[in-house]
Amino acid sequence: MNLLECKDLHFAYAPKAPVLTGLDLRVAQGQVVGLLGSNGAGKTTLMHIALGMLRPQRGATRVFGIDPLVDPVQVKQRVGFLSEQQLLPPGMRVRAVLDFHRQLFPTWDKALEHDLLERFPLDLRTRVAHLSKGQARQLGLLCAVAHRPELLLLDEPAGGLDPAARRQFLEASIQLLNESGSTIVFSSHHMTDVERMADRIVLLDGGGLLLDGALDELHEQYVVAVLPGSGANAQKLADLHSCLRVRRHKNTVHAVLRGTSEAVGVSLARELPEAHAACQHVPLEELFVELLGVDS
């Protein structure tokens, strides 16, 4: 069953600034989806729409088969959400925050709550405003997962955290994955974290999906080709059927092409025999930069 389904989503905050233009997305149970995209691509917007916090101008969303605009309470009880911004009331103490959440979610697991409290660790008497950023995030994560949600939405969960805090966060998330095998959709700019956790990558760009595939396939099915720069080369590359994006640098041309490096190497040798094209599989970060970066 698809836990999250979006069909032809259109959303704009202001009439002249559309964020999502016809997005289709399906997340099945057990998947860990890394939601990537530049700032403003619509990752947060998508999550907010899934929670029923925003009403799309066009299109339909279903979470657990329910429309979040029709029955938001049901949806929110089964979804765990960690927002990018600090939403917790600054004056509340940690204990009060936990009490508050415990009462709202019937499926709250006290054992897990205690376990995570010890792991992090968080002092119950501290006020939210006095927590460090990392601790506040941890508290947010605790509130998001302690009720054993079927779907977990994490919006930049490790944003602004130092590497140690990020690692701690990852460890907690991996532990959760180990225990409950929940479905996770998380957005992140840290590609190394995405590589560790995700098994599926969704790249948002220009209001829609630019890439959607298994992480390992992305590694093995996309290559970056580097050629000495010339206008003609760039144009020929762009015309290739398997080419997704061409970027021009000072002396070189970078292109993202679909296919294994052998196949692409062969086809490039055929199409552009004079240019010595070096093509290779790249880490996710490189792919991301190549696909979304601007010409320099």
């Binding site: 460890e171 991996i174 590609m191 590589e195 590694h219 490096s261």
Partner: protein, 126 residues
């Protein structure tokens, strides 16, 4: 078992795990019949998604390096599979082509490349 994974590498994490396990077995660091960590434990240790580890283990099992016994765990097989020389040859061909292209871009002559290989071979043997 010491495994190092680099998430920023072009090689997918599961394949890094596969390669390192194979290397460990071939170098004797993993004995035949030795028990491997469960995929959940390894996932926690390496801080990667448990499915990734599972995928690696599945591939290793498919190629015949390890085997799972219900209820007991995952163990290194007593009998190692034959190395598929042809597959290795293909991979090396491809890597070699990469090397040559990189060298050509930097205008490095073939002789220098061969010298480099010789040097590295000496270092590995010693």
């Amino acid at each position: 078992m010491q495994l190092q994974i680099n998430p920023a590498d072009a090689v997918p994490i599961y394949r890094q795990i596969v390669r390192q396990v194979i290397k460990a077995i071939m170098a004797g660091r993993l004995e035949p019949g030795e028990k491997l960590a469960s995929h959940r434990d390894l996932a926690g240790l390496l801080v990667v998604a448990p499915l990734t580890v599972k995928k690696a283990y599945d591939e290793l099992e498919r190629e015949g390096w390890i085997g799972t016994r219900r209820g007991r765990g995952t163990f290194v097989n007593d009998v190692q599979p034959d190395i598929d020389v042809e597959a290795v040859r293909q991979r090396l061909r491809h890597t070699a082509r990469q090397l040559l292209t990189d060298a050509a871009l930097a205008d490095l002559p073939l002789t220098e490349l061969i010298e480099l290989l010789r040097q590295l071979d000496q270092e590995t043997r010693s």
